[in-house]
């Protein structure tokens, strides 16, 4: 029980940090309003899905280095399929790409289970493979996205009976994010499968001895990660209107947000809410740096430093949490 409280405490603290950052942003730029919040939500979208992808496997005691490459592959696939195709065709593209992410993710998990090679090596190899596949689909940024997909994350959600001033603070991108994550995460968390994920993350042996199908659960964890990554890839295509075969900085960002969000890198702890708030925090820091008129390249350096510092801090906490003399 106290463990639960501590975890919720961490998320609450993170949320307070987010609010504090919003206040800082408002102080730096008094004109910061609903429109800027909308663009923040759009910028967060691909990162948030990358983080969700990473969170699922980290909770199950693994790590997925192929997240960014998976996003690149799904993004170029979607963009090249929708290129020159009709608007209705996109109705077929979206489930196809999501299924592709799911299957490729399951392949990650199956390779880990079958070859017994550690997850970090398998997903590193898959990072090469997926990157190569993305280059085969499109060798330069290109493709197109259906208009209704692009419209899905621009603008705000009009809710009848509410004044426009409040509507304006509910960007569609945020709604898409919340709906997509909740549809998968809430049923998962309440199911037996969700419990198994946490079980294999905290102690694989104990989980095995209590009858949890470890291999199957692990494969499903990676498949879900692939599904979230495919959503991230679609979000990339939706927000840019094209697909780029070169993976973005999503891998490090996802690991940093997972650590900052209170999910232990050893597995078995934490939830999805913390990492998602952490993504907003990291993105908002970037917004603030931009508002302070700092050179975008310098911003990239500062961002990288923050992420490395967060990961270092997380690793440090993990060592402190272990009995003295134990090897991490």
């Amino acid at each position: 029980m106290s463990h639960l409280f501590r975890n919720q405490g961490w998320v609450a603290g993170l949320f307070a940090l987010l609010i504090f950052l919003f206040i800082v942003t408002k102080l730096i730029q008094p004109g910061y309003g609903s429109g800027d919040f909308g663009s923040l939500a759009r910028a967060v979208l691909p990162y948030a899905f990358a983080v969700a992808a990473q969170t699922v496997v980290v909770i199950a005691g693994g790590i997925d280095l192929s997240v960014a490459a998976m996003m690149a592959l799904t993004s170029v696939t979607a963009a090249s399929m929708m290129n020159g195709a009709s608007e209705e065709y996109a109705l077929f593209v979206v489930p196809f790409v999501l299924a592709m992410g799911f299957v490729l993710g399951a392949l990650n998990g199956a390779l880990i289970v079958v070859t017994r090679v550690p997850d970090i090596v398998v997903t590193l190899a898959m990072l090469f493979v997926l990157q190569g596949a993305a280059l085969l689909v499109l060798d330069a940024p290109g493709g197109a996205a259906a208009e209704w997909l692009k419209a899905m994350i621009t603008g705000t959600v009009p809710i009848p009976g509410l004044p426009d001033a409040i509507d304006a603070w509910l960007p569609k991108a945020l709604l898409v994010l919340i709906v997509c994550l909740c549809v998968i995460w809430i049923p998962l968390r309440r199911s037996r499968l969700g419990l198994s994920l946490y079980a294999i993350g905290s102690s694989e042996l104990a989980a095995f001895r209590s009858g949890v199908p470890v291999a199957r659960t692990r494969i499903i964890a990676y498949a879900l990660s692939g599904l979230f990554a495919a959503m991230g890839g679609l979000a990339l295509t939706m927000s840019t209107g094209i697909g780029a075969p070169i993976p973005g900085p999503y891998l490090l960002a996802s690991v940093a947000a997972v650590v900052l969000g209170g999910v232990a890198l050893g597995g078995g702890k934490g939830g999805l809410l913390g990492p998602i708030i952490a993504v907003f925090v990291l993105r908002l820091v970037r917004t603030d740096l931009t508002l302070l008129a700092i050179d975008p390249n310098v911003t990239a350096i500062i961002e990288g430093l923050i992420m490395v510092a967060v990961v270092m801090f997380g690793a440090f906490i993990t060592i402190r949490g272990r009995p003295a003399g134990a090897t991490p």
Binding site: T115, F128, V129, N297, A300, I301, M307
Partner: protein, 328 residues
């Protein structure tokens, strides 16, 4: 390694092959290299001549040195993904600083970021116990950010490749590439260090059983820090050599070498889990990859296909070595 007295009954052919591979990993590698060269000669009769040999060596040498960085870090159970960025940084700084500076000063300036990144990597991995993969990925992102900022400051002064590096990178004397002048001492040094010095044995010891190494008085963080600084320095020197070969300073100069350098070390028989392997195998691994790249270019396989192949090679070889080790 394998004691035949422990296996009284006759062993099957498959097991014998496995044991042979485990005991003498170099011989199958050399056979593979020869097979590849023969295939090349069959596909393009007459291609294998003195000029081709010199050319292959020229392109294999930068790869082999970077793979040396991977070999040393892998022996401790780590990996160094920042070598590409470090090599690019030192090459770019050298090419731009040589315009206005004394060569010696330019050289020192070019090596400075290498030492710094190596130091940060070493402290992150050795003291804070961040996973080497994530740590080196993070520093390479930060390094790229710095390089972009730096590029703006030197955009007016232009860049040139020093004659000496040109000579070293591309020159051929009596049929031998001049790059061998750099490579032979480096290779001898690495092999000597790994096999005959205390530091080399510490690397194996730490990778084989970190806890045992610590308990027997190894100062883990000092070994790791020295290792990553050395790895970065080698990467920096490779960058200088590579710019003499490629002759076009860009911000992604050595990036394409990173994945092959990991693959070369893995093919060469160095275990990605630490404690097993050596540099001679890595050199042959680098040669195999260079010949393979030529072969794939002749077969007109695109860059994407090559990456997919490299990914599967890493996965397959790691799984195979794992089986061999488990069998004993």
């Amino acid at each position: 390694m394998t004691d035949s007295a422990t296996m009284p009954q006759p062993v099957s052919f498959g097991r014998r092959v496995k044991r042979f591979m485990a005991d003498r990993p170099l011989i199958p590698l050399i056979i593979l290299l020869i097979i590849l060269v023969v295939i090349l000669q069959i596909l393009r009769p007459g291609i294998v001549n003195e000029r081709w040999l010199a050319n292959t060596a020229k392109f294999a040498i930068p790869l082999a040195i970077l793979a040396g960085c991977q070999t040393m870090t892998m022996l401790t159970g780590g990996i160094d993904l920042s070598v590409g960025t470090v090599a690019t940084m030192s090459a770019f700084i050298m090419a731009t600083q040589i315009v206005n500076q004394d060569p010696a000063v330019a050289f020192l300036l070019a090596m400075l970021p290498a030492v710094l990144i190596g130091l940060v990597n070493g402290i992150g991995v050795g003291v804070f116990r961040v996973h080497p993969l994530i740590m080196t990925l993070g520093t390479s992102l930060i390094g790229t950010g710095f390089l972009q900022v730096y590029q703006r400051t030197v955009i007016a002064s232009g860049a040139k490749i020093p004659d000496f590096l040109n000579w070293l990178g591309t020159g051929v004397t009596y049929g031998f590439p001049n790059a061998l002048l750099l490579f032979v001492p480096v290779a001898v040094l690495i092999v000597f260090m790994l096999n005959r010095t205390g530091f080399g044995r510490l690397l194996y010891a730490v990778g084989d059983n970190e806890r045992a190494a610590r308990l027997s008085g190894v100062r883990y963080w000092q070994v790791i820090t020295a290792l990553y600084v050395l790895s970065s320095l080698l990467a920096g020197i490779t960058g200088l050599l590579y710019i003499g070969l490629i002759k076009a300073p860009s911000l992604s100069l050595a990036e394409p070498l990173v994945l092959p350098s990991v693959a070369a070390a893995v093919i060469g028989g160095t275990s990605i889990f630490g404690g097993r392997g050596g540099y001679t195998g890595t050199i042959i691994g680098a040669l195999i990859l260079t010949v393979l790249t030529t072969l794939l270019t002749i077969l007109q396989m695109p860059e994407g296909g090559r990456r997919i192949l490299f990914g599967f090679i890493v996965l397959f070889v790691t799984a195979a070595y794992l089986r061999i080790v488990e069998d004993r």
